[in-house]
C-alpha cells in the first residue's frame, strides 16, 4: 500500500524563492516516494551545493548534503558499501556538469544503481545567477554583465555517451509527469539520469515558465516512440541514436519523457556480486570484522593461510 506523500515532509522551512522550480520537484519527490512506498531508513538523498543541495533537508528519508560537485562520488561510496539502499542524487546543473563533470561521466561508466536528478535552471542561483553549463552561448540572463561566452553542454547526449542506462527529462512545473519519471528512474536497475528543466524565477529571465510552456512536449505523445532496449546488443545502437537525435531539439520544441532505457546492461553490483560471493546477501556493513572479544576475524591462523605467499620458512639446520 502506498504511503502518504505528507509523511515524507520534514518540518524544516523551505527557503527557496517563491515560484522556484524546486517546489515542483519536491512535490514530485513526496508523491513518487509515497507511491513507491520507499522505506525512509533505507533511502538516501545525496546532494551537492546550491539551491538543489538543500533538498534532502526537506525530505524525511536519510539525507547527505555534501560538497560542491561531489554528490555522485559520495553516493558511489554509499551505494557500493550498502547495495540494499536506494540512493538518489539531487544536484544542480553546475554541480553535475561543471565542477563535478568527471564524476557524472564516471557514474555512467559504472552503471551503479544510483538515480541522478539534475535541477537544470541554467544559472548558479545561490551565488547570484552566473551562467551554468546548460546555458546557451550568447544568452544574457538577468544578472550577467555580458552575454554568456561558452557553448552549453548537452546533458542528455553526455549521459548517453557516458553509459547511463536510463536517460530522461522532465519539467518541474509538470509535477505529475515528473513524478512518474522519477518513479521509473528510481525503479530502473542501473545508473539513471533525469534532467529536470526548471525556471529560476529570480535569475533566469529567459527560461521562464512561459518559455517552457510553449515548447515542452512529451516524447511518448508519439505512439511509436519506444526508448526501451529489449535485447542487449541488437537494439542498443538504434535506441541510442534516436535518443541522441531528440536531445538536439531545443529552440522551438523541447522534448521531455524517457529518451533511453536499457535494463539489460549488468550493473556494478552485478559485477561485484560475481567477484565477491557474499556481496549482495551480506552487505559490507553487516559483515562482522571481529569476534565478540574484539579480536579480528582474521586471526593468526587465517593470516598465515591468507598471506602464505609472503611467508618464508627458514631452513632447519
Amino acid at each position: 500500500m502506498a504511503s502518504n506523500p505528507n509523511d515524507f515532509r520534514t518540518d524544516i522551512w523551505m527557503d527557496w524563492c517563491p515560484s522556484c522550480g524546486n517546489y515542483g520537484i519536491s512535490a514530485a519527490i513526496y508523491k513518487a516516494y509515497a507511491e513507491l512506498n520507499l522505506n525512509p531508513t533505507k533511502t538516501v538523498i545525496v546532494s551537492g551545493i546550491g539551491c538543489s543541495g538543500k533538498t534532502p533537508h526537506f525530505v524525511k528519508v536519510n539525507g547527505v548534503h555534501t560538497l560542491h560537485g561531489r554528490s555522485i562520488a559520495f553516493a558511489t561510496g554509499i551505494k557500493v558499501a550498502n547495495p540494499q539502499l536506494k540512493v538518489i542524487v539531487h544536484s544542480g546543473d553546475g554541480d553535475l556538469l561543471g565542477i563535478g563533470a568527471g564524476h557524472f561521466v564516471a557514474l555512467g561508466r559504472r552503471n551503479l544503481d544510483i538515480t541522478v536528478i539534475m535541477h537544470d535552471n541554467g544559472v548558479y542561483g545561490l551565488t547570484k545567477g552566473q551562467a551554468s553549463p546548460t546555458l546557451r552561448k550568447g544568452l544574457k540572463t538577468k544578472s550577467l554583465a555580458e552575454p554568456n561566452m561558452f557553448n552549453a553542454v548537452n546533458p542528455i547526449a553526455l549521459a548517453l555517451a557516458s553509459g547511463y542506462t536510463f536517460v530522461a527529462r522532465g519539467y518541474s512545473m509538470l509535477s505529475e509527469h515528473l513524478k512518474d519519471l522519477m518513479k521509473s528512474a528510481i525503479q530502473h536497475k542501473g545508473s539513471a539520469f533525469l534532467d529536470v528543466l526548471q525556471p529560476c524565477a529570480t535569475y533566469n529571465d529567459i527560461h521562464t515558465a512561459e518559455y517552457y510552456r510553449k515548447r515542452v512536449y512529451d516524447l511518448s505523445d508519439n505512439p511509436e516512440w519506444d526508448p526501451m532496449v529489449k535485447e542487449q546488443g541488437r537494439e542498443e545502437i538504434g535506441k541510442i541514436l534516436q535518443a541522441w537525435q531528440r536531445s538536439l531539439e531545443w529552440d522551438n520544441r523541447i522534448p521531455i519523457g524517457i529518451f533511453y532505457q536499457n535494463p539489460k546492461t549488468p550493473t556494478l553490483e552485478d559485477t561485484l556480486s560475481e567477484r565477491l560471493p557474499s556481496y549482495r546477501e551480506t552487505p559490507l556493513p553487516q559483515q562482522p570484522i571481529s569476534r565478540e572479544d574484539g579480536t579480528p576475524l582474521i586471526d593468526q591462523t587465517a593470516f598465515t593461510r591468507l598471506f602464505s605467499d609472503f611467508i618464508v620458512k627458514v631452513k632447519k639446520v
Binding site: I12, T41, H57, H65, L284, P285, Q287, I289, S290, R305
Partner: protein, 635 residues
C-alpha cells in the same frame, strides 16, 4: 667472516631487477638472514637506471641501509658508471665483459649533472671514461675484485640448452645477477631452488631456465675466480619471516583491521597497496568466508576520499591511499569528514615534493601540510609509522582511533617504506583488538550530532533510523543551522575531542623513547628515519658515544608533555632532529606544541634515504658544533 653484507644490483628499469631482488631476499630468508632492500627508480617504465640496494644481516633484522657495498652487480654499463664509487675497498664488482669499451659520455640516459660529475672524477683520477679503465682503476687502487662475465655467452648457452630465441633468452639477465651473488656468497643450492620455485610457481618452465642460468653463472665464478664473500651463518634463530614491502604490510594491516571499502586513484608510491588489497579482497580461508573488501579505482582523488566518506557513513571500515598530489585534491573532502565526524582513514605515502616533485623518490615534506590541510578547525589524528612492523599495527589502530573518536585519521608513510622490502617477524595477532567506538543500531528518534556527548552515539546510515549530514554548520539533527549559540555548541563539541583524545591515547604510544636515559645526545625523528637513527646510534656507541632516539608517532594530538620531558633531560644542543625535509618540520611541530625551539638539524631532501654511514658522520659533526647538516649521499 662478516656479520653483514651490503649489495647493490643495478640495471635498466624493466630488465628484471625486481625479480632478482625477490629471489635473493627469499634465498637469504630460507637461510635465516634478515634482509632490507630499497628499490630506487625513475618515473619511467623501461630504460632508465634503477637499482636495488640491500643489506643482509646474520644477527639482526636490518631496518636501514648503508654504504659502501661489498658487492655491486651491474646488468648494464650505466650501473657501473653510476655506482663504482659505492663499492668497498676489496669488494666485488660484477659486470658484462663486453661493455669494457663503453664510454660514460655515450650513455644517453645518464643525466647531464651526473655526466659532468663523472667527467670531473675521471679527470681527477687520470683515467679515460671507458669501463675497462674504470675497472682497472678500481682493481689497482681500491683492491676491488673485478669479475667480468660474458653475459651474451651465458644467455646464448641458456638459449641453446632450452631452444630459446635470443630475445627470449635476454629476459634472463636477472638470473645472471642472482647467479653472481649466489656464487660470490656461496649460498645453499636448496635455498636457491626453493626461492626460484616460489617466484615462478605458476610457470614451471621458467623455474628450469632460471635455475640453469643461476647455476651456470655461480659455477663460472667459483671456477674462474674462486673468490668468496664469507658471510657468517645466521644467528637470528628465526623459524620464519614475512617478506613484504611497506605497501604490502599496510594492505595486510588494513585487511586484518576489518577494511571493507578502499578507494584509490593510481599514484606512485601508493597504488601497489590497493593492488595487494584487491588480490586478497576475497577473505576466504579454508572455504570459510571471513568477509570481503571492495576496492574501487575512482575517477580522481576527490572521488577517492568522498566515496570513502560515503562508505564510512554506512558503518564500514573505509580508507583511501594516496600520495602528496592526490592528498592535495582530497583536502576539501578531509574537511567534510572533520565537520561531519566521519571515521575515514587516509593512508598517505609521502614522496619528493612539491608539485609532481620526485614521483618515485622519498621524502617527509608533507607533515605540516597533513596537520593543517583543509580550511577551518576540526580534530583529526595524524599518525606516523617508523618501520614495517609499526606500519602493520598502525594500519589497524588507525581504524580504531577513527571510529572511537569519529574523526578522520591520516596515516603518514613515505616512499622509502612503501618500496622497501623487509624480512620481518610474522605479526602477533593475539594482541590486536578492533574497537569500533560508539557504533550501535539504536532504533527510534536519533540525532546524529547529539550534543549530549562530544562523541555522539553512531548509528550507521541505512540502519533503522533516518538521519542527516551537512557540510554546513548543522543542528543536532544534521540540518543547516546558523544560530550563533548552536554554532558555539557544535564547534565546541567537535573541538572537545582534541582534549579527549589527548587524555585517552597513551602518550607512550604517541612518542617512543628508544635508548637509555643516560645517553649523551638525543636524535628526534619520525617515520622512516627510525631505522637508520637506531643503527647510527649503535655504531656510535661502539666508539663510546651513547645516544637515544625519540620516535614521534602522533603529531595530533601531540604528546606535548612526554616530548617535553624527554627533551628536557638533554642539553639543548645535544638534541638533533633528523628529517627528510628542508625545514625540519617535526622540529617545528615540537616548537608549536611545547615551546621548545631546537637549533640543530640533520636533513636530507635528495629523495634518497638517509644512510647509516652519512648519518654517523653528521651526528659527529653536529656534536662538534655544527648547527645544520644536509646529507646528499646516494644516486
Amino acid at each position: 667472516m662478516a656479520e653483514e653484507l651490503s649489495l647493490l644490483l643495478g640495471g635498466a628499469q624493466g630488465a628484471g631487477l625486481e625479480s632478482s631482488a625477490n629471489i635473493l631476499t627469499k634465498i637469504f630468508g630460507y637461510l635465516g638472514y634478515g634482509t632490507f632492500s630499497d628499490r630506487e627508480y625513475f618515473s619511467n617504465i623501461k630504460g632508465r637506471h634503477s637499482y636495488i640496494h640491500s643489506r643482509v644481516s646474520s644477527n639482526k633484522l636490518p631496518l636501514s641501509l648503508t654504504y659502501p657495498v661489498q658487492i655491486l652487480c651491474a646488468m648494464d654499463a650505466e650501473t657501473v658508471f653510476t655506482h663504482f664509487e659505492d663499492v668497498e675497498e676489496g669488494g666485488f664488482l660484477v659486470y658484462d665483459a663486453s661493455l669494457s669499451n663503453v664510454k660514460g659520455e655515450l650513455i644517453p640516459s645518464i643525466e647531464p649533472k651526473l655526466r659532468e660529475r663523472l667527467k670531473q672524477t675521471f679527470k681527477k683520477l687520470g683515467i679515460d671514461s671507458a669501463i675497462g679503465s674504470l675497472t682497472a682503476y678500481l682493481h689497482e687502487s681500491k683492491g676491488v675484485n673485478v669479475i667480468a662475465l660474458n653475459y651474451s655467452e651465458i644467455l646464448s648457452e641458456l638459449g641453446k640448452r632450452f631452444k630459446l630465441l635470443p630475445q627470449q633468452a635476454s629476459r634472463y639477465l636477472s638470473s645472471i645477477i642472482v647467479g653472481a651473488v649466489v656464487g660470490l656468497v656461496q649460498l645453499d643450492p636448496e635455498a636457491i631452488n626453493l626461492a626460484i620455485q616460489s617466484r615462478f610457481r605458476a610457470k614451471p618452465e621458467l623455474v628450469e631456465h632460471n635455475k640453469f642460468a643461476v647455476d651456470l653463472v655461480s659455477s663460472q665464478i667459483r671456477e674462474r675466480y674462486g673468490l668468496t664473500y664469507k658471510l657468517d651463518p645466521s644467528r637470528l634463530g628465526r623459524e620464519e619471516f614475512l617478506v613484504v614491502s611497506g605497501n604490502d604490510i599496510v594492505a595486510m594491516g588494513k585487511l586484518v583491521g576489518g577494511l571493507r571499502y578502499q578507494s584509490y586513484y593510481p599514484i606512485t608510491p601508493a597504488a601497489d597497496e590497493s593492488f595487494t588489497i584487491e588480490s586478497y579482497q576475497k577473505l576466504i580461508v579454508d572455504q570459510k568466508n571471513l568477509g570481503s573488501a571492495v576496492v574501487i579505482q575512482t575517477e580522481d582523488e576527490i572521488a577517492a576520499i568522498t566515496s570513502a566518506i560515503g562508505a564510512a557513513m554506512c558503518g564500514v571500515r573505509s580508507a583511501t591511499a594516496t600520495s602528496g598530489p592526490g592528498f592535495s585534491l582530497m583536502v576539501e573532502g578531509l574537511g567534510y569528514a572533520g565537520q561531519n565526524e566521519v571515521p575515514v582513514v587516509i593512508t598517505y605515502y609521502q614522496r619528493g615534493a612539491p608539485s609532481t616533485g620526485q614521483p618515485t623518490r622519498g621524502g617527509q615534506q608533507d607533515l605540516l601540510f597533513s596537520l593543517f590541510a583543509s580550511h577551518g578547525e576540526f580534530p583529526r589524528i595524524v599518525l606516523s609509522s617508523g618501520d614495517h612492523e609499526e606500519a602493520f599495527y598502525d594500519s589497524i589502530e588507525a581504524f580504531n582511533l577513527a571510529e572511537r573518536y569519529q574523526v578522520p585519521v591520516i596515516h603518514l608513510l613515505d616512499k622509502f617504506l612503501a618500496n622497501c622490502i623487509s624480512t620481518m617477524a610474522v605479526p602477533d595477532l593475539s594482541k590486536v583488538k578492533l574497537d569500533r567506538g560508539k557504533i550501535s543500531s539504536k532504533v527510534g528518534v536519533y540525532k546524529r550530532f547529539s550534543l549530549s556527548e562530544a562523541i555522539s552515539p553512531w548509528v550507521p546510515l541505512g540502519s533503522d533510523v533516518v538521519q542527516w549530514y551537512a557540510g554546513d554548520e548543522h543542528s543536532e539533527e544534521g540540518h543547516i543551522d546558523e544560530d550563533p549559540i548552536n554554532r558555539v555548541e557544535m564547534y565546541d563539541k567537535r573541538m572537545k575531542k582534541l582534549e579527549i583524545m589527548d587524555k585517552e591515547i597513551p602518550p607512550e604510544s604517541r612518542a617512543v623513547f628508544l635508548g637509555s636515559h643516560d645517553a649523551e645526545y638525543l636524535l628526534v625523528g619520525w617515520g622512516f628515519v627510525k631505522g637508520v637513527a637506531l643503527d647510527a646510534i649503535e655504531e656510535l656507541s661502539k666508539k663510546g658515544l651513547r645516544g637515544a632516539y625519540l620516535n614521534i608517532k602522533m603529531f595530533t594530538p601531540f604528546p606535548s608533555d612526554y616530548v617535553n620531558n624527554v627533551i628536557s633531560e638533554f642539553e639543548k644542543d645535544k638534541v638533533i632532529p633528523v628529517e627528510h625535509n628542508y625545514l625540519a618540520q617535526a622540529s617545528m611541530a615540537i616548537t608549536l606544541n611545547t615551546g621548545i625551539k631546537l637549533e640543530k638539524a640533520i636533513v636530507k631532501y635528495t629523495g634518497r634515504p638517509i644512510y647509516k654511514h652519512e648519518l654517523v658522520h653528521a651526528i659527529e659533526k653536529v656534536l662538534e658544533g655544527s648547527r645544520r647538516e644536509v646529507l646528499t649521499y646516494g644516486q
